[in-house]
Amino acid sequence: MRRYVIRRIAQAVGVLWAAYTISFLVLDFLPGDPVSAMAGAGSDAGPVDPAQLARLRHEYGFDKPVLLQYLDYLGKAVRGDFGDSISTGRPVTATLAEALPQTLALAGAALLLAVVFGGGLAVLATYTNQRWLRQLLLSLPPLGVSVPTFWIGLMLVELFSFRLRLFPAFGGDGLRGLALPAVALAVPTGAIVAQVLAKSLLTALDEAYIETARAKGAGRARIHLRHALRNASLPALTVVGLLAGQMMANSVVIETVFSRDGIGRVTASAVTVQDIPLVQGVVVFGSLVFVVVNLVVDLVYPLLDPRIVVATGRRVGVA
């Protein structure tokens, strides 16, 4: 078990390193001169003084060979230093750390809603004997993945803030401010959780052990929840892990819609002013979230399903 954990952590670090490299290649290697963008950012003044450009270039190390630049930046990144934001001049790491709690609250609430309602929908749809109810429930998830997230947010504001005046439209602190954005963010994820869980529940209900449980006289609800759901929840858990990074990314749109502070807002404004260090920090952060959540999911797996033996070093979970 310990060797497995160490191996997985090493893998995770490798993925992070590669993600950093890709973001470096994308942002520092592509056309467009970061220094002129930097000098131009925030000011609409005409052409920038060439001498000043050269000085900036030197300051940021852009006059060095690319490989040296890369190693230089990588060395700093390993120590948690992603440079300073171009627009605010503050360290990228501090900016992200400050924005993180807001986004974590939002994403956490959304994840909870997605799992509870998505999972509930799947359980109910596979449990009910009413054909119409089942069809109705199963038609919701495809709808959920087809609707733009930002539009859901705007519709919720329209309905609950402007018409019914139940929730604050924009900003807003505490639970009341969190409700609408969390619901909007939960819809696409919840829809996918529902789809995956319904599929694997139907598969599980066809298994022989269900027959055995029925033969032993277990009730329908008990069979559904204790036997089928327990086995069927593993694929859903994997999907939740895979979707965690996506949820972080969707917060860009949702936080913009609701004018909430957080990683998403930071990202949106960083892209707008071409704040390269900040965007790079966000990309690596997104990858970090993905890697950490999947690591946790993989480590939790054997606890939920004792049949999975990690000692052999076999990679568990869906690739």
Binding site: I22, V26, S146, N250, V253, V271, V279, F290
Partner: protein, 302 residues
């Protein structure tokens, strides 16, 4: 990405159906009709997609109004007979803007898919066909791409490339390369093990002939199916980026831009956000429905 995630594994089935389709027996036609009659939702989806494509190429079929020039006397008119989707803050007809916006949105979607299909397909093809360390390196690269949330990757690319419909489309396309590479590689590996590939090899056929005439045609089907599955995802991703303001510059009626413009008038003119958003949702729903039909139902029916 999300939709692809759910069933990218199951994308394999259509290949057989396509080859069986070439018989041309009279009974086949009746079964096609029955297939569609039993699925009114699918028929509606096909109609929606046809309408969107028509709107993209011939917007004048649907509206004679100017999408860019408004009538100052008719600001903020609610939807009605004269203006189906109402008018906006400059008195422009929103329906005309949605119809004309179809072109930009469809263009962006197709570019994104083409980029993802070509780049991902090539990665997967090379990885699957060459094998050994090349495969390891390429597929680890794909794994890393998967670990970066698609929207973040697109945003990084937009930061580097700049704004505009085409650039946004390319950014969305590159962000969805990974899925295509994976399916392509899996299919190439499957096709490579077929007996006819073995036979061709042992007859002394050159490697590029084996690749182009035997492996590729047998591997590409599921990748095409994945492309249809990804249409909806691409439409959503493109509209998200243009909603955030990275798409075409202001007067252009891109779908995401329409919604973000209307956002300022949410309290007094609901139609400015609701109706364009509904258009996106219906379009994505329709393409997803068709993709699902291609993906399994059609093959299972036979």
């Amino acid at each position: 990405m999300s939709q692809g995630l759910v069933d990218d594994v199951a994308a394999g089935a259509v290949l057989g159906a396509e080859s069986a389709d070439r018989g041309g027996v009279p009974g086949k036609r009746r079964s096609v009709v029955r297939f569609f009659l039993r699925r009114p939702g699918l028929v509606a989806s096909v109609v929606v997609v046809v309408l969107v494509v028509l709107a993209a190429f011939w917007p004048d079929l649907f509206t004679a109004q100017d999408p860019l020039r408004g009538t100052p006397a008719q600001l903020f008119q609610a939807p009605g007979g004269a203006h189906w989707f109402g008018t906006d803050e400059l008195g422009r007809d929103v329906f005309a803007r949605v119809v004309h916006g179809a072109q930009l949105s469809l263009q962006a979607t197709l570019i994104a898919l083409a980029v993802a299909f070509a780049a991902g397909g090539l990665l997967g093809l090379v990885a699957g066909f060459v094998g050994r360390w090349v495969e390891d390196v390429l597929m680890r690269f794909v794994d890393v791409l998967l670990s970066i949330p698609a929207l973040f990757l697109s945003l990084a690319l937009v930061t580097a490339l700049g704004y505009g419909t085409v650039k946004v489309a390319v950014a969305v396309g590159i962000a969805s390369v990974a899925g295509f590479a994976r399916v392509m590689r899996a299919e190439v590996l499957r096709a490579r093990q077929a007996v006819f590939v073995e036979a061709a090899r042992s007859c002394g056929v050159r490697w590029y002939s084996v690749l182009l005439r035997h492996v590729l045609p047998n591997a590409i089907g599921p990748v095409v199916v994945l492309a249809t599955v990804e249409i909806g995802t691409a439409i959503l991703a493109v509209s998200s980026l243009s909603f955030l303001g990275y798409g075409a510059p202001p007067p252009a009626p891109e779908w995401g831009t329409l919604i973000s413009d209307g956002r300022n008038y949410l309290a007094n003119a609901w139609w400015l956000t609701t109706l364009p958003g509904l258009t996106i949702a219906v379009t994505v729903l329709a393409t997803n429905r068709i993709a699902r039909a291609l993906d399994g139902e059609w093959a299972r029916q036979r």
